[in-house]
């Protein structure tokens, strides 16, 4: 029997198996369940609001804050430097580039812990690395960074550092979020353009 017939039968057989494959791996988690679980139990995936405030003050470029709330809530106030990916839009291919950066820390936050935890688990399950959750979300941010006051007479150097960090973050947060909408738009556009120029490539 000719080799061509053999190859043809082989290819059709493989084609039939592929057509009947029971599930589409590109739409499910890439990690196995035990791997995902062992990543989820670690405590190192949480960042406190103080740590995030410090990263924001330093304009740490290895960090990308991701706000998971709706566009309206994002517009009202958000942590400067964050981008808005509404949780329902998480799987949109346009965010693939944001998630797929191995060296950038991606920090998810919502108003509380729940949405951030969902998003963290999904991003890690899909195989992306370097994901973090800001513990407590914006509720904790407001409570600690924006509104906490120092109580007592004497202040230790450590407490001094913490409170200075918080005051700086408070100022930056208030200033950027108080800009009128037109200027806020320009500010974010300018940051976006700077980032695109750094990325290079065609558009």
């Amino acid at each position: 029997m000719e080799a061509r017939i053999k190859y043809a039968v082989l290819l059709v057989g493989i084609g039939i198996i592929i057509a009947l494959l029971p599930f589409d791996t590109s739409e499910s988690f890439r990690l196995k369940s035990n791997e995902l679980l062992s990543k989820s139990i670690s405590d190192s995936l949480y960042l406190s609001v103080d740590q995030v405030a410090q990263m924001m003050n330093k304009e740490d470029s290895t960090v990308q804050l991701i706000d998971l709330r709706s566009a309206g809530q994002f517009k009202e106030c958000n942590i400067p430097g964050s981008i808005n990916i509404p949780f329902d839009d998480l799987l949109n291919p346009r965010w693939e580039g944001t998630f797929n950066q191995r060296r950038v820390k991606k920090i998810f936050y919502g108003n509380g812990d729940q949405t951030a935890s969902y998003a963290w688990t999904i991003a890690t399950g899909l195989g992306y690395k370097n994901n973090f959750i800001m513990k407590g979300g914006l509720n904790e941010w407001f409570k600690t960074v924006m509104l906490s006051q120092f109580a007592g007479e004497k202040i230790s150097p450590l407490e001094n550092a913490i409170f200075e960090n918080r005051f700086n973050a408070r100022r930056a947060f208030t200033q950027v979020n108080s800009l009128p909408d037109s200027l806020k738009g320009k500010y974010f556009k300018a940051k976006e353009i700077k980032q695109l120029k750094l990325d290079g490539g065609c558009q």
Binding site: M1, D88, D113, Y118, G125, L138, M146, N177, L183
Partner: protein, 159 residues
């Protein structure tokens, strides 16, 4: 006909091996087979959470899964509860408990983040009757209002 099949035996062998590998992979229980979209859709409108009050009024059977590791003394609020520390959630014995339960599975943890992560993992493993027990009806509500400073303008001109 048999003659032709005999000539094709290498091809049939190759296809058979492939088929076996495909089936073995499918039968592997640690692989996620659900679409991620379904997890996101299930969280819309907070339809996957349940508050303590709603739990008290629930008439259908349910099992509360306590994901903490400290033994809690039996709270009168949970009628049917079992303790499975989060790290052991996917052990064989625990998976049997989860599969055998006919009613709702209610995930509880003192730390809402842990329960949420467990929810995503179990949802993507195929369990559909899952709820998270939350202290309040909408844990993602922002409790503070931002006060803008209307005299603000950027100090450095970065535009």
């Amino acid at each position: 006909m048999m003659d032709q099949l005999k000539k094709l035996r290498i091809v049939i062998l190759a296809i058979g091996v492939l088929l076996i590998l495909v089936i073995v992979r499918y039968a592997n229980p640690t692989i996620f087979k659900q679409k991620v979209k379904s997890a996101i859709e299930a969280t819309q409108n907070n339809s996957n959470i349940i508050t303590q009050d709603q739990l008290n009024q629930l008439t259908t059977p349910y099992l509360v899964i306590d994901l903490g590791s400290l033994t809690r003394h039996n709270s009168p609020l949970f009628q049917h509860a079992v303790q499975i520390p989060f790290e052991q959630l996917l052990d064989k014995a625990n998976r049997k408990i989860l599969q055998d339960e006919p009613g709702l599975l209610i995930l509880f943890s003192e730390d809402l983040a842990t329960a949420s992560k467990a929810w995503v993992i179990l949802n993507q493993m195929g369990y559909k009757k899952l709820r998270i027990l939350t202290p309040e009806a909408n844990p993602e509500l922002l409790k503070y209002k931002f006060q803008p400073d209307t005299t603000a303008r950027l100090e450095q001109d970065s535009m």
